[in-house]
Every structure is written in C-alpha cells, then in structure tokens.
C-alpha cells in the first residue's frame, strides 16, 4: 500500500476507485459519525427528521386540495410519495456546498480520496431516507392502497438511481464550492426554482405536452415521476421512463465525477 497520488484528469482511474475502496472504513466511520452527532443527544431524534418534512407535506396538501385544487384522489398520498425524495436530494446538495470547508483541516493534512466526505454525507442522509420511506410505505399501504402493490418491489432500483443522481450532482457542487463561496448562496435559489419546475406538488402529466421534452431535461423530474408511479399509483412505470432514468442517472454520475476528478488534486491547497 502506498500514498495517494492520483494523476489529475477528467477520467476516473481504477486507482482512484482502489483508493476509495481502501478507505471504505473511513466512509463507514463518517456515516456513523454523521448519524451519531445528529441523534445521540436528542430524545426525539428521528421524530424531528420525519416531522419537519411532514409538516411541509401537510401545508402543501392543505393549499393544493382546498385553495388551488389539484384533482387527484388521495392527494396527500401523492405529495407524500414525492416530497421526501425531493427533501433528501435538497438537503444532500446543500451539504455539498460546505462539506469541504467544514473538513478543511482534514483535507489539508491527510492524503485520502476526498470524495469520501461527499459519499459519507450522501450515505448518512440515504440511511435516514430509507427509514422515512419505510414509514411512508406503511402509511400508503394502510390508508391509500389497502394492499401491498407489486410495484413496491422496484424501490431498490429507484434508490440506486437516486444515489447515482445525488452523487453526480453533489460532487460538482462541492467542487465548485471549494473555489467560489457564491455557490452557498446561489444553490438555495436554484433549488427553490427547481422545486416549482419539478413534480413535487403537481403531477408531471399536468405539464403541457409541448413543454414536456424540456421539462424532463431535469433528471429530478423523472425520478419523482418514477416514485409517483410505483408508490402513489402503485403500477409499474413505463419501460422508457425507467431505463431512461437509469441511463440519465449514470450519465449525471459519470459527468459529475469527472468534474470532481479534474479539480480534486488542488483541494488540499485551497480549502
């Protein structure tokens, strides 16, 4: 075993993957740390994590079923099956803007593949999301479907798509944040815009046919539609949507990782 000496470049080299694998214990420790620090001294712990987005869901349901009417049966179930996904993505991307600054001492004094910090943030948030989605599944089965739809079996594939997508977006955001602190201010604005341009409180079918090709350039829109199909509608998604999203997530992941790879070797000099 030797010190980390990745050659700078766009392409992720096999030695880079080897380094991440060598530091897998660090990844595990970081995920554990994130969860411990968040929950160990909190009595209600996970209740807060779940309650906060649930409150937003309640407001969305109130507004869009009584003020602005979105004609969907069991509208609450629709919002519930998408909003937590959106919330998970939003929080992870926001973490990306400060993760390297937060760990500047570490980055400056230890040679390790720095994407592990981002992967750790994605990992711990994903574990929370799995707990959230489990509760949501129970609610949907009990009060919406009254049986377990077969489409729920696709959930692991959706999680995989989500992980690739989030890593592929968080890595370039974190990279850019190392060089420009503006990202921290700009990202929340971008995400607020994206909230309205993604099917969180309305179904994608309501978007005018002509605008849909552009609308689905946003990969999060496709992911949310998949969640709506398998969780809310309880039916198998279309072949095109599912495999289109797998391809899109892979593409985002590869491009995002490449951007990170191009610049990561100078992080230790800048943060």
């Amino acid at each position: 075993m030797s010190a980390v000496h990745p050659a700078p470049g766009w392409a992720a080299s096999p030695s880079r993957a080897n380094q991440v694998w060598r530091f897998r214990e660090l990844l595990r420790q970081l995920i554990l740390r994130n969860l411990k620090v968040k929950y160990q001294r909190s009595l209600l712990g996970f209740v807060w994590t779940f309650l906060n987005p649930l409150l937003t869901v309640a407001i969305l349901v109130l507004v869009f079923s009584h003020v602005v009417r979105i004609p969907l049966p069991d509208y609450w179930a629709f919002v519930l099956s998408g909003y937590f996904v959106w919330n998970c993505i939003l929080q992870t991307l926001n973490t990306g803007t400060y993760i390297f600054a937060e760990h500047s001492r570490l980055t400056r004094s230890v040679a390790f593949p720095s994407e592990i910090l981002v992967l750790g943030a994605v990992g711990s948030r994903l574990l929370e999301f799995v707990a959230e989605i489990t509760l949501i599944l129970v609610l949907l089965v009990a009060f919406h479907h009254h049986h377990v739809p077969a489409s729920f079996a696709l959930l692991p594939i959706l999680l995989a798509i989500q992980v690739l997508l989030v890593i592929g977006l968080a890595l370039p955001i974190a990279t850019l944040s190392v060089f420009y602190y503006d990202v921290q201010h700009a990202l929340p604005i971008a995400l607020t815009t994206l909230f309205y341009l993604s099917p969180v409180f309305y179904p994608a079918q309501m978007v005018p046919e002509a605008a849909r090709p552009f609308y689905f350039l946003n990969p999060i829109a496709g992911l949310l539609t998949l969640y709506h199909e398998i969780l809310y509608a309880g039916r198998m998604p279309s072949f095109t949507l599912l495999f289109g999203m797998i391809a899109a997530a892979l593409l985002v992941y590869v491009i995002g990782y490449a951007i990170f790879n191009r610049y990561c070797s100078v992080f230790s000099e800048i943060v």
């Binding site: 030797s2 980390v4 000496h5 595990r28 420790q29 760990h103 230890v110 040679a111 390790f112 000099e269």
Partner: protein, 272 residues
C-alpha cells in the same frame, strides 16, 4: 510491495534504481499560485476587457525547487530550516497531500503522515469513537483497528475517558489520544510535522521511546522539528532546507552545527 508514483514532468527510470528507497523525490518543485489582482465585479470586468488589461494577475511562488531526496528503508531523517523554508510542503508532497508541480514522488510501503494532530476529531464524539475515526482517517481498516484499539488506549493511559465526549477533554488529553493513534499504527514510513511536543514530560518520554523502538524495528521516520534535542535523539541524518532549496544533507550533528552557525551569523548581522 506495490508502488505509486506521481509524475508531473519527468518519469523516473526504473532501470537505474539499485535498491528501492522508502521515499524518493526527484527534481520535485512545488509552486503555489496566488492572485495579486482578481477582477471581482462585472463593471471592472468590462472596463478591463475594453482597455485590454489582464483580468487576473497571478503570481507563482516556488515553495520547493528541484528538490531531491532519497530515504532508504529504516532511516530516520530530520527536515530542518527556518519557517517558510518548505519543510512542511516537502512533507505534504511525500504524503501525497500535494501534487508536485514538476518532478516525481515515489513512496514504498504503508505511509502515515501526521501533519496536524487529530485532524478529523469531532468534539461531540466519545474518545473511543474518535480513535476509530482517526484511525480510519489514517487509512486503517476495521480489523486492524480492532486489533490495535487496546494498545492505543493503554499507550494514551486514558481508558477511563474513552466514553467521554471529546469536548470535555483538555487540549493536552486530546493531543495525547491523537498521538497514541498515530504511533500505534505501525506504518512502514512515518511522517511527523512538529507534533512531538504534546502532553506532559512523562508522555513525551514515552513517545520518544516508542519512536525509537519503531525505528529500531526497521521503521522509516521523517521528522520536521525545531527541537534540537529531539532531532539528535531520533535521527541520524538531517536535511537542511532554505527558501525551498536544499542547503545541506548529511550527518545530523554536522548539519545541525552548520545550521546553527548560519543562524547565529544572521542574528549577529541583524544586531549590528
């Protein structure tokens, strides 16, 4: 043992290496860029564009210039020099934290660099959790850690504090715990950057004894320090850096004597 190389300009020829070194730097230069002027507003951007002035004025500064260093297995070498002479940069290059601007860095075996003690420590976590985290930061696997955990705790003599969050530790205790993790890892190459001055005298003595034992067992040690006694005690060879260039490389006593003579020369000149 597997090797890793970082090559910016020239690649080392493997044919002319008789014996593998633990650490080998060839013609390594490191320059840092910083901005003397950087266009920060749109208005200025337009004005500078129209007047054909450069948008950003960048200056490059060499911290290390064509530096060659070969450290054999089992050697103990001290890097000395005044502040800003490039010692820490050299150490970071060896550790792989920095990429060389030109030249090549080659290391052999497992390398542990302690540039800042307890980097990665989290105040909210317990002592035991922090030991696990720091060991992972330094590249230790799960099984290796479990095998060494008791050794670390015993060396720090802090078993009763293992379930206490780190934020209740004194700074001395924190440094002691961090140092214990670092010295118990048993790497092939150990890099230490001015981190030996931790804890009370008794702990320091045990650290020195531990490092001597590590060296006696064949471990390679590269040390950045300003404490002459420590350097004499641990190292047989010293490398003197000045303004990023190697001034002298050789027997520890000779190099230290030359360094001190030079230092007092400067001081007397400054005084007159």
């Amino acid at each position: 043992m597997p090797f890793s190389t970082a090559t910016a300009a020239s690649s080392p020829k493997s044919s002319d290496r008789a014996v593998e070194a633990a650490v080998e730097l060839r013609g390594v230069s490191k320059r840092f860029y910083y901005y003397e002027h950087r266009t920060s507003s749109l208005r200025e951007w337009f004005i500078r564009r129209i007047l054909h002035r450069p948008l950003n004025v960048r200056r490059a500064e060499f911290t290390l210039r064509s530096f060659d260093l070969r450290v054999g297995h089992g050697e103990a070498v001290a890097l000395i020099g005044s502040n800003g002479s490039g010692k820490s940069t050299a150490l970071r290059l060896i550790a792989g934290i920095y990429q060389p601007s030109s030249g090549s860095v080659r290391t052999c075996g497992r390398l542990t660099a302690v540039i800042e003690l307890g980097a990665g420590f989290h105040p909210e976590l317990t002592g035991a959790d922090n030991v696990a985290l720091y060991a992972a930061v330094l590249g230790l696997g799960r099984r290796e850690l479990m095998a060494r955990f008791d050794e670390v705790v015993d060396f720090a003599e802090m078993r009763e504090f293992m379930d206490t969050p780190l934020k209740y530790y004194s700074s001395g205790m924190e440094a002691r715990l961090a140092f214990s993790v670092a010295v118990c890892l048993q790497p092939d190459v150990l890099l230490l950057d001015e981190v030996l001055a931790v804890g009370d005298q008794a702990f320091r003595d045990r650290c020195l004894a531990r490092l001597r034992a590590y060296h006696a067992a064949g471990g390679t040690l590269i040390l950045v320090s300003h404490e002459v006694d420590q350097i004499r005690e641990l190292c047989s060879r010293a490398v003197w850096l000045e303004h990023g260039v190697m001034r002298m490389d050789g027997d520890v006593d000779q190099v230290l004597a030359a360094y001190r003579a030079n230092d007092s020369l400067y001081r007397s000149r400054g005084a007159s």
